[in-house]
Point group: C2
Chain length 382, copies 2
Amino acid sequence: MRPRSPNTRHHKRVKLHIERPTLLLNQERAIKNIEKMAKKAKASGVRFRPHFKTHQSAQIGEWFKPFGVKSITVSSVDMAAYFSSHGWKDITIAFPTNIRAITKINALAEKITLGLLVESSETIDFLGKNLKSNVNVWIDIDVGYNRTGIPWSSTREVAGLAKKIAGSKNLAFAGILTHAGHSYEAKSTSEIRRIYADSIFKMQKLRDVLTAKSFSNVEISVGDTPTCSVAEDFTGVDEVRPGTFVFYDAKQLDLGSCGEKDIAIALACPAVAKHKERNEIVIHGGAAHLSKDFMLSKEEDKVFGYVCMPTENGWSPRVNNTYVSSLSQEHGIIRTDAAFFRKAQIGDLLMILPVHSCLVVDLMREFLTLEGETLLTMPKFN
Amino acid sequence: MRPRSPNTRHHKRVKLHIERPTLLLNQERAIKNIEKMAKKAKASGVRFRPHFKTHQSAQIGEWFKPFGVKSITVSSVDMAAYFSSHGWKDITIAFPTNIRAITKINALAEKITLGLLVESSETIDFLGKNLKSNVNVWIDIDVGYNRTGIPWSSTREVAGLAKKIAGSKNLAFAGILTHAGHSYEAKSTSEIRRIYADSIFKMQKLRDVLTAKSFSNVEISVGDTPTCSVAEDFTGVDEVRPGTFVFYDAKQLDLGSCGEKDIAIALACPAVAKHKERNEIVIHGGAAHLSKDFMLSKEEDKVFGYVCMPTENGWSPRVNNTYVSSLSQEHGIIRTDAAFFRKAQIGDLLMILPVHSCLVVDLMREFLTLEGETLLTMPKFN
């Protein structure tokens, strides 16, 4: 008999101890995902400023450092404070600045290179009056997602804000930033590529206008996992800020941003009941673990996750005709076919590929690596 | 000038300190909700076994004790362990028993009166072999929700399981338990009343069959907030297990289970941006705080929460024509009319009545009372 590798042996030990919904992390896959994105950015001569809201973990943050990552993105002032306290010195908060948190913002600005995002003159006025140290200020641009930002075609408004930033004490105009979140609605990778090209086109046009108005060194920052994953290179922008790519998930798989073997997390869930008349398996693993984010199947059914089996080294490819069809707080319902229904037993673990890794991590707050190490996220509130 | 009451003064102080999404709790309303439900149960001569998954807090658990509550419901083995460590001695885990957690189940069964829920002979066999102390076992019955449980009309199957329980070492057959979760789909309070009456009818018919087969003292346990809120009394059952009623929420308001002044929690969110062309206000308050649970408006739009204004004593009645229309991880988008759009300013706090209080509490993990006290939930994992 061949001796098992240490890795396999470790995983087997982990498997035996799982008794409740547990977020498994395949560290090797996550590091491969980081390496691939970092190399693509480097080859394009573009700054890689990954979004750390996906993992929220100082320990996982360390995995980025060997690939030269020194600058990061976060989504809240508290998250910036957490990563700053773990040694990160160049952090952009890619969320419209929350002026109520000015005390914490000032504390950060004193210590690190802080980037803020604005899209209104009220916020710029407030910062000009209340900031005590220098910050880099980005203007949030809407290239079609319609969530936040100034429409890219409102060049006069953007130029007006840029002028106000440049004229405000402690504020330096860094550039224009967008999140092309409408890429999540794309029906094909060619549509994602089109959205990426369209975003870059709009951002460059806007920069040209700003440059013509004598703003120098206006940087372009883009970043969402679908476009950053399918884009061949990042020529034409100054920095990319994807986040979800570190783990990917079922939604990214459906979009074509990743392959199944790139997905680095799965939620291990105990099977607790079976309903033969409906070919349904009930798991302990609900909205409190997976979040209520869903995708629609071709048949327009809600899908809250794909289902895999545990293996010696992690989890199997996804089981055909099988998905999480509904969730309540602690319950998940898996709909399957007669073959898998017969195979799965009460007390088994089933491995769920989540729809949205960011929200699952935010709910679970800790990871168990396949080597048996527990990694923590930041505290929910600090 | 009239002196302000201490309560008002305290709340004013709290309001000034809110700088990030914060879950506010109106303690007075929560206690009124507890009192009302406890009195209704008492008047019907029925055991009140409230579901503590909604608040998950030992401190809030104490508020039930003055109303004679000694027995509680939880949704996981870990939650049972938490409340047991805070002195609760009679706990039912109203979730299909997770046999992988047998070590923790045995530790609990040794210390407290533990109720378990089963719906398969495999689970009963496992418990019979592995339990080391006595537990009360309930059979999960499906009266129409189709999530878990044996269909109520499968009387032979239920009787078979009851017999197996009664014949197993350390297992005592306690009765039949249901959760009529389809009440959440009701279109009117009269439909909720019909669902309640229908559930009771089915459970009583099933008990009659079991009694005829010589099972004695078969108890009936029911409980979901809509039916328990609108039912006039609880005659005909032995215990009720509602949970959400302690705080209620926007969904319960829409269902008619509560009035707006019964809602005891609201998420305070800073306004960070405004989009005049869409009458939209962006708040810091997203899926990481509110969960992705939604309701559909009459116009079939997704609604992730209602919007109120802060007041000296908490929050105002909900603002007309105004609701949370979409959420991403940290962003919430409020859709409103021109009048409220003009009124709300960047930096203001807006108070969101959440769609599903259980999930918001699970995400937020702490409450700030209007008197300025921070109350904690159980740790996410222990």
